[in-house]
Symmetry: C2
Subunit: 200 residues, 2 copies
Amino acid sequence: MTQSEERHQQRMEKKKAYVDAGIERASSDRGVLVVNTGDGKGKSSSAFGMATRALGHGMKVGVVQYIKGKIPTGEELFFRRFPEEISFHVMGEGFTWETQNRQRDIDNAEAGWAVAAALLQDSSVGLVILDELNIVLKLKYLDLDRVLRALEQRPEMQHVVITGRGAPPQLIEMADTVSSMEEVKHAYRIGIRAQPGVEL
Amino acid sequence: MTQSEERHQQRMEKKKAYVDAGIERASSDRGVLVVNTGDGKGKSSSAFGMATRALGHGMKVGVVQYIKGKIPTGEELFFRRFPEEISFHVMGEGFTWETQNRQRDIDNAEAGWAVAAALLQDSSVGLVILDELNIVLKLKYLDLDRVLRALEQRPEMQHVVITGRGAPPQLIEMADTVSSMEEVKHAYRIGIRAQPGVEL
């Protein structure tokens, strides 16, 4: 073994000891509340990637998509193939600036919440995705306290992911894992429209 | 209509005009290069969410996972159900601090690159996911110029997502869409270990 290879091995031995100690310390299991926020790409797609992980481990998944465009998304088309494993609920009739009617938006948000609340009481559902709920909360279409209470009272092993820009501070406070997706650059700004398989 | 409802409608009309103008400007279609970097959760899961979008639109997907733990991940277990639609390649034998052998890591990276390079020449593959490639590049296990050249020469409509901390500046420069997943908080830090359906 050369000197440089030996140094590499020593560094990696140290790193392994450090990582292993961290894993040892983190030893409890329970359902986690994940919040994906920020202005960059990746909030909803990350939630749907988690859905594939949950399905791979034989868990049941429930999805409520709150704000949605006119075109059916790829994730919806794909996940609807597995109705026994994942229930996929699309609420609303487009983005808030499409309806231009606050009362209709509130009614849609309430209808979506009824589905979400049922999922959050069903211990057979291992992962609940509330896609774009942050936007609904930011616009005050749903009462935040009611949402926080339902999250708190959910089954102990149930994971929840909530996505959307502008997550409320109280939700961030309650969450276990929070990522902020920051936009470094976006294809949209150089004239490339939303692409199937990427944004759609 | 009340005055407040009227104001809401006017604001939303303006917003719709602004959004529609933006969509009009962004009108070209081509394969985009997406890079997910940063220290927070969501880089790989976002790539796998994009895979569900691509599969939903009938596209073929190719995955090369470079750095991997000992336990098969949920996404691997799930996507292996659809071998006609998604080819899933897992390279390496664990994290770099597990092997503790630089030459073995380089050999693994090269083997993974051979698979990736073939995917990047196959125009029947609509989306290529190179999971944790950024780490491999950061450790200089692969030559960056070779990777950039292959990305540049790929089929025009092929999308690529590259994930991992510490994306090299030249890769960010070439990419169309770059998100940095920032850690606001992580369940790991309060003693909850990686959970199936969330991290695994």
